[in-house]
């Protein structure tokens, strides 16, 4: 991205939209603080990844086309506060729509201007210190699709390192899956829960009060387990931490 964009479109993701709207607002707050205007095409729904991962290609294609249509009304770059949905749009759409040449071409064009939230901040906008303040011990867990699909790792770590008041904690095996995996978490619920237990043992051992992640799906999973074990540790989207400036 040669020119610093002055406006972006937000693909908020269906999970943030319906479960964690304040995280969506945190993303908007951080971007506006950096002087980037946010557009929100409000007919967006789901990117189609649940269907894609379950093997329902036709359903996934329908949602991919819908999302491409919704995000094509504007030519502004797209920001996604999720490595998982970001990977879907950036890497899977074009392959999924390979037999539909017009949409495949639009999918490639969309992929080229779509960025995961921390990638947009660090790689595109060149920002690491966004003026955030958060007091407490903070660890970082690397969500799988962002890490291995998009190469998101250094960006959130750099952003967190600039948060005033945050004392970094090391989370061992930070790049091992928490066991969410979408439908996997209920289809193979006991394996998923065993993976979560291993992850949460390490979270607790890290001594962190807050674990930052780039996907609310993983946060939802880990928080569900932490609540069930009666732990006070909380997992939060990195945008939630970056939005807080200390003035209320």
């Amino acid at each position: 991205m040669p020119v610093r964009p002055t406006r972006v479109q937000l693909l908020v993701t269906c999970l943030i939209d319906r479960f964690f709207p304040e995280t969506g607002e945190a993303v908007v707050a951080v971007l506006e603080r950096l002087g980037v205007a946010v557009e929100f095409p409000d007919t967006q729904t789901c990117c189609g990844q649940p269907a894609f991962n379950a093997g329902y290609a036709e359903e996934a294609r329908g949602l991919a086309r819908h999302t491409i249509d919704v995000l094509s009304a504007s030519d502004a770059p797209v920001v996604v506060p999720s490595g998982s949905c970001g990977d879907m749009v950036i890497h899977q759409y074009a392959e999924l729509l390979a037999d539909d040449a017009p949409y495949a071409a639009r999918a490639r064009a969309l992929a080229a201007r779509t960025f995961e939230f921390t990638q947009l901040l660090v790689d595109v906008l060149g920002e690491t210190d966004v003026g955030a303040v958060h007091t407490g011990r903070v660890a970082y867990h690397a969500c799988c699709h962002g890490l291995r699909g998009l190469g998101v790792d250094a960006q959130p770590r750099a952003l967190l390192a600039c948060v005033k008041g945050a004392r970094p904690c090391t989370l061992d095996e930070a790049d091992v899956c928490c066991g969410f995996g979408g439908l996997f978490s209920v289809k193979l619920g006991d394996i998923s829960a065993a993976m979560l237990a291993s992850k949460l043992d390490r979270v607790v051992a890290s001594g962190a009060e807050t674990v930052a992640v780039t996907d609310v799906s993983c946060a939802m999973h880990m928080n569900g387990g932490l609540r069930r074990r009666g732990s006070g540790v909380r997992v939060r989207h990195v945008a939630d931490l970056l939005a807080a400036t200390g003035d209320s």
């Binding site: 093997g55 979408g182 209920v186 569900g224």
Partner: protein, 471 residues
């Protein structure tokens, strides 16, 4: 390679309940992953070497016919014989015929996954042949009438105490014999030595066959491969038809990565290349060498969307790296090949009817792809198999209904918002401070061990619209 009689969910339950097995698997997996990373980091350009290895595998498979022909030709020049087995039965029949016509009585075996795939041991034993596994791990598996749980480390699921018990119960070992691992190794060695001296048939796998020289490369860490392939008068080497490299230089690339990925070693201790049987004037070696090249479904995989799985060099790194394998071990997969590679290879070779659960047993985290020395994109193929599962009608009804409902409503933004509001209202009724401890039906698999959040009463979309009213 038949499907297990026990359903997948029961095998998973059993595995998750087996705490000692899970501890053993997790301890070894963590250790090997660290030594693997260290061994690779000592290479000047590990990533470049992996790219080269991948290119070699891709090239070899793109011209497999040619390289198989070349290999068979060079092997025969050296005095070896090749047999091309289309099915597992063909391979077993060929070896049984050899045993009968040559009057063979005792077989020593070094480790071979393909012998497990074609279920060779029971067939030979039914013919009255004594079969002795000489890889230490496989030796223990055989004594226990167990199955290997990892393609490189067959007794990954056992502790040293388990092995000591086996040696005591099955072989009458004394306390001194099983005092520690070196003593147990010496004990096994004494038992195996007599089998080696007695054997008239040696059965081995093949890590790589070299087309240009007709050589077969066999890697072992215990030296049992050398004895297996040189002492008995007949040597049968079993190989999957994809396990070829064109040249000796290519072999070098593969060996550099195989040991590092499998065990974190620079090189497997005994990496031997055998070129034909004993020649006139040579003191050692078998009188006959038969290389059994097994197809058993591989031809059908070549050229299709799963062909890349045949790049696999059986290092086992993806098993160690897989967080699912780390929890359930190898046996739960119910197939000879377990872990991520098995979840693709088994249904690729044997179909989805019996094995459609395996591609679901993944969170698609991608750790397997990250550690694969030849960069096989296993998640991509798991997704392809999930699509096939849907096409073949093996996907459960509740998933089908859920995904169709998602596909239908999410194309209708207003309806999608309404459905979300409805879910929020219903969830609110069942919740305590914003989280549910119980959910109905299949969703209960979540709340058995985790709380689930209630959807927000007002979505981001709705909040945005209020703050940004349209003119």
């Amino acid at each position: 390679m038949n499907a297990s009689a026990v359903p997948f969910y029961r095998r998973v339950e059993d595995a998750l309940a087996n705490a000692p097995m899970r501890r053993a698997v997790q301890r070894t997996a963590t250790h090997v992953l660290h030594t693997r990373a260290a061994a690779l980091s000592r290479l000047d350009d590990a990533d470049g070497l992996r790219d080269r290895a991948r290119a070699i595998r891709a090239h070899t498979l793109s011209q497999l016919d040619r390289y198989l022909d070349q290999f068979v030709g060079t092997l025969e020049t050296l005095g070896g014989r090749a047999y091309f087995a289309q099915t597992d039965d063909d391979a077993v029949r060929y070896i049984r015929d050899l045993v009968r016509t040559r009057g063979l009585r005792t077989a020593v075996k070094s480790k071979s996954m393909i012998s497990e795939e074609i279920e060779l041991n029971p067939a030979l034993e039914a013919d009255g042949v004594r079969v002795v596994e000489t890889d230490l791990g496989e030796f223990v598996v055989q004594l226990d009438e167990d199955r290997p749980s990892h393609i490189v480390a067959p007794i990954l699921h056992k502790s040293k105490e388990d092995v000591a018990r086996t040696f005591r119960d099955k072989l009458g070992a004394t306390d001194a014999d099983v005092a520690d691992v070196p003593h147990m190794t010496q004990f096994a060695r004494r038992v195996l030595r007599s089998a080696f001296l007695e054997a008239d048939l040696g059965i081995s796998g093949v890590n790589f066959a070299i087309a240009e020289t007709g050589g077969i490369c066999i890697c072992t860490n215990e030296g049992n491969g050398r004895l297996t392939t040189t002492l008995p008068r007949v040597h049968v080497a079993l190989m999957g038809m994809e396990r070829l490299v064109p040249t000796v230089d290519d072999l070098g690339v593969m060996l550099d990565l195989l040991a590092r990925s499998a065990t974190g070693q620079k090189l497997t201790v005994y990496s031997n290349v055998l070129t034909g049987p004993r020649r006139t004037g040579e003191p050692d070696g078998p009188e006959e060498l038969h290389v059994v090249i097994v197809d058993n479904g591989r031809s059908d995989v070549l050229g299709g969307e799963l062909a890349e799985i045949l790049y696999c060099i059986r290092c086992g790194a993806c098993l160690y790296a897989c967080p699912v394998y780390q929890q359930i071990g190898g046996h739960a997969y119910g197939s000879v090949y377990s872990g991520p590679v098995g979840a693709v290879l088994t249904p690729a070779l044997r179909g989805l009817a019996d094995f459609h659960d395996l591609p679901q047993a993944s969170s698609l985290c991608g750790a397997c792809r990250e550690v694969c020395p030849v960069r096989i994109d296993i998640p991509r193929m798991l997704l392809a198999l999930r699509r096939r599962t849907v096409e073949e009608g093996e996907s459960p009804l509740w998933v089908a209904l859920g995904m169709q409902a998602l596909g239908w409503t999410a194309k209708r933004p207003a309806l999608f918002q309404t459905a979300g509001r409805l879910a929020a209202a219903m969830g609110g009724l069942a919740a305590r401070d914003g989280w549910m401890q119980w959910m109905p039906g299949h969703l209960g698999a979540w709340t058995r061990s985790r709380d689930f959040p209630v959807p927000a009463a007002e979505s981001f979309t709705s909040r945005w619209r209020k703050r940004h009213p349209k003119p």
